[in-house]
Structures are given as structure tokens and as C-alpha cells.
């Protein structure tokens, strides 16, 4: 039994952008994991989950 890719979904505190990171890429992004891809600010973690209509609302950073 497995579970597909898991995402941490964020809303940027500064510019409001909604974006997500796959948790299997924590090692690749390191300290940048969770940063807004537009302005580089930290985001608020607003959702966690697999590929779904909910996480599809967030732009993937990869």
C-alpha cells in the first residue's frame, strides 16, 4: 500500500501567491523549501496533501 506524492502548500505572506512543494524534494531545495518562487518570502503553510483538486490550486515549484 503506498500513497502518492505529497505536497506542502503555501500562501505567500508578502505577495499572496499560492504555491506548493513536493515533500520528496525537501533535500533538493534545502533552506529554500517553502519560499515563495516570486518574491522569495516565507509562506504560510495552508494545506498538505496528495495530488488532488485542493492541491491543484497551488502552483508547483520544482
Amino acid at each position: 500500500m503506498t500513497w502518492g506524492a505529497q505536497y506542502m502548500c503555501y500562501t505567500c505572506k508578502k505577495c499572496g501567491k499560492k504555491y506548493k512543494y513536493a515533500i520528496d524534494l525537501i533535500g533538493d531545495f534545502g533552506a529554500d523549501f517553502g519560499k515563495c518562487p516570486v518574491c522569495g518570502s516565507d509562506g504560510d503553510l495552508t494545506y498538505e496533501g496528495p495530488v488532488s483538486p485542493e492541491t491543484s490550486q497551488y502552483e508547483e515549484v520544482d
Partner: protein, 292 residues
């Protein structure tokens, strides 16, 4: 005795069409009912899959260990008289199921294979995926009695070490078959370095001659693990249990779509896709009994 040298260039493709988590809202093409799963498996067999790993769902789409649905699905697949795909039934389709119900369908149906998750871990950062020592001993010994080959799912290297322990204890018999589950949350990440490490750990702990192995990666590691397995001489698993996206931003149209891509990858590499009968020889399974 199978001529394994003649089969050394063969790659087994396993399809895991449903799994326990994705629902129609996540991908409308995930097969959920016994009828949908059976037809999906048949299409995957025609596309080149030699093994099908099956989960069941209830009417709301939740994972369920329902012997009636397992039986119906198996019967529907076998109703296709030309389909000789190896059936591998999950023992882990519902984290709330007790140990008795997790093996009830295996005892009744005696499939050629059943999953054997060789340790406990967290489930989706929200629950527990329990595979207690008592459950693993029970499954290992019962599967031997029933003639069911365990597919040892290893989500991290510790589960390979645990399998080695159960081999020494007689709970598992060699040659064993590993499914390296790469990139799942709470498990080992899906990188080539880690895949090589898993393979080498198995060689060290179990002995290279004592196991076969397959792998898959979820999410970003899906293609890397597919090509990695082919390159390292392993076998591969694909399907919507592990990935509902065929590519970034593109929902899979079907499980057969995954199988067809795997077939192409195997052929492009210069290897050949194993038929179900060849898979049986590679996995040390008895010949297919059409009378069953």
C-alpha cells in the same frame, strides 16, 4: 527448473491500478469497482503487464479489505480466459483493518502473490501503518502454507533488514521478492543513489542469489526509478496506486498508458518485457494452473 539464464534480459512489469488513496476526484480514471478494476487489469495485461497488484474500495471510494470484492474482482479477471496475469492481492488496503480481515481474502483465494509490508511506519503524516511482528510472522508462515509468494514491500532499508531476520527465522523462504517503494512520505526518498543502496543492502543482507527485486517511485522520482530499475536489472511497477499524474500537470488517462510507457522504456534500453509465464519463472512461482 526454470532456465533463469535465458530470462536474464526480461523485465517484469507490475501494474498497481488502484491503491488505497486516490479517488475519482483526484483522477476520474482510477478504477474503483470490481468491474472497473478487472477491465483495467485486462487492458494492462494486453499492454504488457505480467503482474497486477490489487486493492479494493468501498462505495465511497475508501480502501477496504473486503473478501467479497476481492473474490468478485479475481473472478472477473479470470473470466477473460486468455488473461494469465499473475495476481498479487494487497494485505494493506485499509489502515483501520484488523489482522484477521487483512488476510481473510488471501486464505480464501490463495492468489499467487500477496503484499508483505515488512515493518511499520507513519501513514500520510496523519496515521499509523502498523505491521506488527505478530502479523508479519503470521503472514509469512500462512503464506508458505497456502502457497502464496510474499511481495516484500520495503519503504526503507530497515525493512530489508527485517526481511533478512524473518528469512533466518524461517518465516520467509528464499528466493524472496522485494518491491522497493521509493519516494513515499516517511520512507526513503527516490534517488538513484538510494535505489542502488537498497539493492546493495538486499545483496548484503539476503544474498544476491536469494532475491529478485522491483521498484517504483512516487511523484518526481517516478521516471528516475523506472529507468533506474531497468538499468540495474530490476523489475518495475507502475500505476495509479503510486502516481495519478502521467507527467507534470497531466492526469493519467489509464493504467495501460503507464504500462505502455514502461514497455517502451524496457525495449529502448534493449531489454525485453516478461510475459506472465516468464514472470512466474523469474519469481519462482509454479506454472499457471488454468483449472483454478
Amino acid at each position: 527448473m526454470a532456465d533463469l539464464k535465458a530470462l536474464k534480459n526480461k523485465t517484469i512489469i507490475t501494474v498497481a491500478p488502484t491503491g488505497a488513496w486516490p479517488k475519482k476526484k483526484d483522477n476520474p480514471n482510477v478504477p474503483m469497482t470490481p468491474e472497473e478494476i478487472a477491465e483495467d487489469v485486462y487492458e494492462c495485461w494486453k499492454a504488457g503487464a505480467a503482474v497486477a497488484h490489487l486493492h479494493m474500495r468501498d462505495d465511497e471510494g475508501n480502501g477496504i479489505m473486503d473478501p467479497v470484492r476481492f473474490k468478485k474482482t479475481v473472478e472477473l479477471i479470470k473470466a477473460h480466459e486468455d488473461c494469465d496475469i499473475v495476481l498479487n492481492l494487497t494485505t494493506s488496503g485499509d489502515i483501520h483493518a484488523d489482522d484477521d480481515i487483512r488476510v481473510a481474502h488471501v486464505e480464501e483465494l490463495k492468489p499467487e502473490m500477496a503484499s508483505y509490508d515488512c515493518g511499520s511506519m507513519n501513514w500520510l503524516n496523519s496515521g499509523l501503518f502498523i505491521n506488527s511482528p505478530a502479523f508479519l510472522e503470521r503472514c509469512g508462515l500462512s503464506f508458505q502454507e497456502w502457497g502464496v509468494k510474499p511481495e516484500i514491500e520495503a519503504f526503507d532499508p530497515g525493512m530489508i533488514a527485517n526481511a533478512a531476520y524473518y528469512i533466518k527465522k524461517g518465516v520467509l523462504k528464499t528466493p524472496v521478492h522485494f518491491q522497493f517503494c521509493m519516494g513515499c512520505a516517511n520512507g526513503i526518498t527516490g534517488t538513484m543513489k538510494n535505489l542502488v543502496f537498497m539493492k546493495e543492502e538486499a545483496e548484503k543482507l539476503v544474498g544476491a542469489q536469494n532475491f529478485t527485486w522491483s521498484c517504483f517511485g512516487v511523484g518526481h522520482s517516478a521516471m528516475e526509478m523506472l529507468y533506474g530499475a531497468v538499468a540495474l536489472g530490476g523489475h518495475i511497477r507502475v500505476g495509479m496506486e503510486d502516481n495519478v499524474l502521467f507527467a507534470k500537470g497531466q492526469l493519467a488517462e489509464s493504467n495501460a498508458q503507464f504500462v505502455k510507457r514502461a514497455v517502451e522504456a524496457v525495449k529502448l534500453f534493449g531489454r525485453e518485457v516478461a510475459t506472465p509465464d516468464e514472470a512466474r519463472q523469474l519469481l519462482s512461482l509454479p506454472p499457471y494452473n488454468t483449472a483454478e
